[in-house]
Every structure is written in C-alpha cells, then in structure tokens.
Symmetry: C2
Subunit: 259 residues, 2 copies
C-alpha cells in the first residue's frame, strides 16, 4: 500500500518548497504537479525535475476533478506519491476532495505545508495578521458579484483589512491584474475610488512590487506580471501606518478621507 | 552597506525553511534567530547550524525590542544578515517595527516567506480558507478578555470559522494547551461547551494530532506537546463536514446542536 503527500511549492518558484518538501519529493516513487489552482510563472519545471531527481507529471483540473483523480488514486495504491501544488496545498478546496477520496480507500495522506499568500500578505505589507477579516476572490465575471463589495464593507465596518485574491484563468496561465480588478471594483461602487488599498505583486520574489495608495491610483499603475493581489485597508494601527508610508509609499492624502 | 533578510523557519523543525531561505542563510555573513514569538520544540539549533554552515546567535525579546534591535542594526550595517524566525516572519508585529528601523537607516530588507499556522490550519483541517474570519489569541491572563468571545461570536454570526492562537510564555518555551484554553473559554461562557471545534497540535509534523469535537470534549483530551491551536467552526460546507468526519473523527452528535 502506498502513500500520498501534498507538497506546497510556496510563492514564486521551485525554491519556495521547504527542505522537508524537497526531501519527500526526492523519496517519492512518482511525482505529479498541478498549476491550475494558482500560477507560478517563475517556476521552471526542468529545474524542479533536476532538484527532485525525477520526471514530474503535470495534471490538469479535469484529471483531478472530473475523472475523480483516478490516475492519482491508482498511483497512490502502487507506491509513494508526491503531489506538488502551488502555495500551501489544500487552500484550494478541490484538493480537500481528493484527500477525502484517498482516505476513503485507505491511502495514508499528509501535507507538507509551504508559504501562502493568505499569510505572506500580512508580513509583506506590514499589516497585522489578526486584523484581517474574511478573504474574497475578485472573479473575471462581470458584473462584479455582490459578495465582493459586501465582504469589503463588512470587514471595513469592523475596522478589518480585506485580502482580495485575483481570479486565475485555469489552463491559460493568466490572472486578473491589480489595475483590472481595481477598475471592476470602482465600476461596481464609485465610492471605492477613495479607499486606501495596497497592490501586491510577486510577494516574496526579488522583483516584488507593492504600493499603498487610493484604489483609483492602483487602477492606473503597472505592477508587471503575476501573481498579484490587493488588500483593502481597514482601521490602521500606527505601526501599520508607518509601514504603508515608509515601505510602500503611502502619501498623507492617501491616508486621509478613506471610506 | 549591508542587507537584512527575515527568513521564515516554517512550522515544526529546521526543515520547514524553504530552499531559498536555506540558500540565503548560507550566503549570509552572520545569522541570528529568535524563538520568543513562537516556539519550535522540534527544532535543533545544532542541526540548523550545520545546515546553514555557521553559528546562530539567538536573540531574546529585550534585545530586539527594548534595545531597539541595536545589535541587529549594527550587524546589518557591516554585512549580510539572516534573521531566522519561527513560522512566516512578520506575522509578529514586533518584526515590522524592526524592519521599519532598518529601512529608516537605509538598510535593504527582504522577507523569505514560509508556512504559517495562519494559512496551514485551513488545509490541515480541511476547512475553507475564505471562510475564516478574524483571528484572535487566547492569553494566559484570566478572566478571559472580552475580545476573545466577541471575536468568536462575531465570526460565528457570519457563519465564519475562528482560528484561536494560543499564548506563548516568552522565554519559557511553553504554550497554553488546547485543553487549558478550552476550559478558560467555557468558564467565560458556558454556552461554548457545545460549540464544534477542532483541536490542532503540531500541524504538518509527523506526529500531528487533530480532533474535531464539541469544545467540552477537547477540554478533556491530551494533545501532547506544542505548538497547538483551536478552530471554532462556523457554518459548514458539505466537503468541510466530510473532512471533519472522515479525517478528524467528528461524530453526528458533534455536528448537531452546535451554537
């Protein structure tokens, strides 16, 4: 009987995997990876294959979900499977379903955690982790679903920050940009133009770009390539204000008259 | 002029560092570490020193905060500093202040992110990341601060889960246990006895222990050593219910009559 380990790839490239994840992938009999729950444009599959010393079989959403992950399930009955996943595995609900399918047929599963934007955004921006409310994704679909503005205002009313994840077009390796998401949000509610927000691109990478400003300014800013996300800022503690000023260029006018 | 890199050590031991973090620590001129914002009982300093090929200077809260981090600031003016921090660095506010002090004197700072309980708890439990509300810490002090119960009920009213971080006694390497925290919460509000919760100990480690049950059951359960945390469960999606049943032993009676 085999085993199945979900291994997080972290934030940017193949070096975002932990030392433990690397060892586990090296010891596996077969390695799979998916890049449909998140995109990692700086990750080089060839380099990753050399690091773990074996070929990596890339699976798409259909293979994991619609076919019930049968290929993964079969492999896990035969040996030790490593499944490489962007960010921290299991943040994506789809992988919880896969884990349950594996458990039901008696396969031992385990997660080797890695960095996720869900927690990295706190330190990266300098905003305090216990002041973040519910997270929400800005989808490609228009008009913007009511849940996006509701989540922002519900958090904001309580003085909390909101992490906005930006939708990924599965299989096409593209993601909604900060400027596009900001524009959609302002179209849905013009009052959002003057809210203080932080645009965060490629968090943790050497070419990370972050900027704290009014939403309308972020809508006109080029943040370069993915991955990107936005934080709508709630009530600020003075250390948070300092961080947005000193590290991410917030101006006095940005800090005034926010919604 | 030097540089200063905050490197996350991840969740359990020295192998929770990323491959990038390991390389950065190896290339540094001097390495510091702190274990007062979180405890990592399975981490072996000797092994960590061999991995990064240099001595690690352990600093305490006083050295980082009360003395304004002067030793760290001085070292960063002379060369390339690696500062090793449990979990994902900067989740602790104290390190944001240090980063700002470094920026003010012109030192280039960077974060190499790692896994944090803030995001790992989602995948580990099988609960969906976008259904977590604000996080709160259960402190050693009694009576329990009003903010703990307020945060739980405020999230619960919205159908959201609440991650309860458990206080760490700085310098003593001990942490509030799940059973102790559960008992404190039930003393403060007896209605909390019947709430559905997940006790999570040593998330991601080989000896990880998790159990989903009523709070009163968790208060009588031995979860072993730290690190530990609790999730108070909100409204469940059916995949989440399945995960709590199949993976973490929730019984029908646990899933009924929750607050």
């Amino acid at each position: 009987m085999g085993s199945f380990t979900f291994i997080g790839l972290g934030l940017n490239d193949e070096k975002g995997m932990t030392v433990e994840g690397l060892e586990e992938a090296r010891h596996s009999d077969i390695a799979f990876a998916e890049f449909y729950t998140n995109i990692m444009p700086n990750l080089d599959i060839g380099r990753l294959e050399s690091m773990i010393g074996k070929k990596i079989h890339i699976v798409d959403r259909t293979q994991v979900e619609n076919e019930g992950g049968s290929r993964l399930l079969e492999a896990s009955q035969a040996g030790r499977v490593a499944f490489l996943v962007p960010g921290d595995p299991m943040i994506a609900t789809t992988h919880v379903s896969l884990r349950l399918s594996l458990s039901k047929i008696g396969i031992k599963t385990r997660i080797v955690h890695a960095a996720s934007i869900m927690s990295a955004i706190c330190g990266a921006t300098g905003l305090q982790s216990y002041k973040f409310g519910k997270t929400v994704t800005v989808p490609y679909e228009e008009p913007l679903p009511k849940s996006v503005l509701d989540t922002i205002s519900d958090n904001h009313d309580r003085g909390l920050h909101t992490l906005l994840l930006l939708d990924v077009k599965s299989g096409q390796d593209i993601q909604l940009t900060i400027w596009d998401a900001a524009a959609r949000i302002m179209r849905a509610d013009p009052k959002m133009q003057s809210v203080l927000a932080v645009g965060a691109a490629r968090v943790g990478a050497l070419d990370e770009k972050m900027k704290a400003s009014k939403m309308r300014t972020l809508a006109n800013e080029d943040f370069g390539g993915p991955p990107q996300s936005i934080v709508v800022v709630g009530k600020l503690h003075f250390v948070e204000t300092e961080a947005l000023r000193i590290l991410w260029g917030a101006q006095d006018s940005d800090l005034r008259d926010s919604i």
